[in-house]
């Protein structure tokens, strides 16, 4: 099995280094990186490119759907991808199994899209490595006042196909791909705000928010109190739970001090599975099942809507079918 990831390189070289090292050790075979033109991230990409595990793509556009769709199709056609992830540099796609390959290989063939559950880590105080500080996050079992939309909560992983379209709004391509619903075998650990300065840069770019947290930051920025908002978020404890998985993984991958290399992390050696991840126990899965249910992707209301949509679609097909038959019959009788 071959997994190719597409990532927008961004402007944070240390983050990009961690992102690439983690995914290449977790089962990704090749990363197609959209080079944003930043010198430091360019150096990191060049180092990985020399190892043959990254291809730099200077598209000029930072990860629009069209660019990512084009790269996804190249991943399939030129790099033999069987699964494609479309990620951002601040995301770490964590498999609930021994590796991404292990998780994806067992997915029944009927499913063309596997969905990953997004975990947004809020800012934490301090200025050390983000993964050492940002080790708490909300749980879906404690519903926030402003729940996330499904498109914010779930990120798709695509089974390879010749005409792959990366559309975060509809990963099913209008129903042409069957999604695995209500179970999310990969978690996306996302770290959007890692320092006040980086949060300022993020907001200044005016990017589209991917979560309620980002929307709140953008609003605070517009109103001129981003620094206060950041400090308030950093101090929040509330119903956050401890999650040290990424911290521990990156500690494992970090090269010993003094190694001369552009990257601070080790790549998997040949014939080495890379990072050794612990599959969840049934007790872990039981708790996770509760969170998956809380996402609310499937319920009777959604099922009813789904049936109505399908009815409408079949109605359209019927409407096209009978006039076609009549035309054909008319033509035949004229002969």
């Amino acid at each position: 099995m071959r997994i190719v990831s597409i990532v927008g390189a961004g402007d944070d070289a240390a983050l990009l280094d961690a992102h690439l090292a983690f995914h290449l050790n977790a089962g990704v075979d090749l990363v197609l990186a959209i080079d944003g033109g930043d010198d430091a991230t360019g150096e990191i990409l060049a180092a990985y490119e020399r190892d043959g595990v990254v291809r730099r793509m200077s598209t000029g556009a930072h990860g629009s759907s069209d660019v990512r769709s084009e790269l996804a199709r190249r991943a399939v056609a030129e790099h033999d991808a069987e699964w494609v992830l479309s990620s951002d540099a601040d995301e770490f796609w964590w498999p609930r199994g021994e590796s991404l390959k292990d998780v994806l290989a067992a997915i029944p063939a009927r499913y063309g899209v596997v969905q990953a559950l997004v975990r947004v880590f809020p800012p934490r105080p301090g200025d050390g490595a983000f993964e050492e500080r940002m080790t708490v996050r909300p749980t879906l079992l404690e519903q926030p006042s402003a729940p996330e939309s499904l498109t914010s909560t779930l990120r798709p992983v695509y089974r390879a196909g010749p005409a792959l379209v990366i559309d975060p709004g509809d990963p099913t391509e209008g129903g042409r791909r069957v999604p695995l619903r209500a179970w999310y075998p990969i978690e996306v650990l996302r770290f959007p705000f890692r320092s006040p300065e980086q949060a300022e840069r993020f907001c200044a770019r005016g990017e589209r928010p991917r979560s309620e947290l980002e929307a709140a930051a953008l609003e605070a920025h517009r109103e001129g109190h981003l620094a206060e908002w950041y400090a308030e978020q950093s101090a929040a404890s509330g119903s956050l739970v401890s999650d040290v998985r990424l911290r521990d993984a990156l500690r494992t991958l970090r090269r010993p001090d003094g190694t001369s290399s552009t990257s601070v992390y080790a790549l998997p050696a040949e014939d080495d599975a890379g990072l050794v991840l612990r599959p969840p126990t049934i007790v872990d899965d039981a708790a996770y099942a509760g969170e998956c249910a809380a996402v609310g992707e499937v319920d009777l209301v959604a099922l009813d809507r789904h049936i109505r949509d399908l009815e409408a679609r079949i109605g359209q097909l019927e409407a096209r079918f009978w006039p076609r038959v009549l035309r054909k019959l008319t033509r035949l009788t004229r002969r």
């Binding site: 290989a105 067992a106 049934i282 039981a286 499937v298």
Partner: protein, 320 residues
């Protein structure tokens, strides 16, 4: 009232004798068993029950044809064995009534209903490979929310029982029966099904490797995982991920997702001691909170299954 159990089995010698003896003592009058190419002594065990007049053994080889074989057994039960009710089992499943004896539970079904279900409750493997499985596997999984992982052996499901009908169709896995004359009674369970799918490393390997082959082109995710582990030489590690060790047990009990459940162990001990009807004991028929939560989880899981099937229909509609 004549109660007939069907049993589909392949290489389950460590459990099949206990399973048949348990059900015969719990009110089952006759067993029809389909032996799918067993090679581990299962056939001899089935034949011994057949010689005593309790069982009829059918057999077949090649790719598994579950629905066909189960339907054949269900119809034979109606036509040739005078059954009133028929229920469908695998060798690793034990039907435990929730509020009465097995026979009383079936008899209590209102006459206008003809199809009922029993809620499956999974028992994970525990450390150790020695001795009877029922002495070791006394921990039950209790899921308050549906585990909708298509690769998990612990997905919520139910098994079916129905009034005898020579026209009945039983679907794959014995989870559903279809009949023009029988109406389904949903929302109430005639029994619990105690399920012991993985009992020892050797049995897990045998079941997984043969299961993956037998299911041909569309293997279940759980069998794909076994095949992968066999290929990569990591079967032992894979089996350990399913096993509940003492540390996991303590955490699971504290969080409510694992429950210590000795009911089958005690019932089989009593059978060994010569006592009949092991389901009769009052403490075995208590209603636990988990049963209600798991019933709700099964309903949720069934909504998910329907939604996934609809997604597949939509894909087909799109391709027209």
């Amino acid at each position: 009232m004549k109660l007939v159990q069907t049993l589909q089995v392949r290489d389950e010698a460590d459990v099949v004798g206990s399973q048949i003896a348990y059900h015969l003592n719990a009110g089952v009058d006759f067993v029809i068993a389909f032996d799918h190419d067993s090679q581990d002594g299962t056939t001899d065990i089935l034949e011994s029950f057949a010689r005593d007049g309790y069982l009829r053994r059918l057999s077949g080889t090649g790719e598994i044809r579950e629905g066909t074989w189960r339907t054949q057994m269900a119809r034979l039960a109606a036509v040739e064995h005078g059954a009133d009710w028929v229920f469908h089992t695998d060798a690793d499943e034990f039907w435990m009534p929730t509020t009465a004896t097995l026979r009383e539970s079936f008899e209590a079904v209102p006459t206008e209903y003809g199809i009922v279900w029993a809620l499956t409750r999974h028992f994970p493997p525990r450390p150790g490979d020695d001795g009877p499985f029922s002495e070791r596997m006394t921990v039950r999984i209790s899921l308050a929310a549906a585990l909708n992982d298509p690769t998990s052996p612990y997905r919520p499901h139910a098994k079916v029982g129905h009034r005898a009908d020579p026209e009945v169709i039983v679907r794959y896995g014995g989870h559903t029966a279809v009949s023009a004359s029988l109406r389904g009674l949903s929302g109430w369970y005639v029994a619990e099904v105690f399920h012991f799918p993985n009992r020892t490393l050797a049995q897990y390997e045998r079941k997984g490797s043969r299961g993956a082959r037998a299911r041909g082109y569309t293997p279940l995710g759980q069998y794909v995982r076994v095949s992968q582990a066999l290929e990569s030489g990591t079967l032992d590690e894979r089996y350990r991920t399913l096993m509940v060790d003492d540390q996991t047990l303590s955490r699971g009990v504290a969080e409510g997702s694992l429950v210590v459940d000795m009911r089958l162990r005690d019932a089989l001990r009593e059978l060994d001691g010569g006592q009949r009807d092991p389901t009769m004991r009052e403490e075995r028929r208590r209603l636990d909170e988990g049963l209600i939560a798991e019933s709700a989880a099964l309903r949720e899981a069934n909504v998910v299954r329907l939604t996934r099937d609809l997604d597949e229909l939509e894909r087909r509609a799109q391709s027209l």
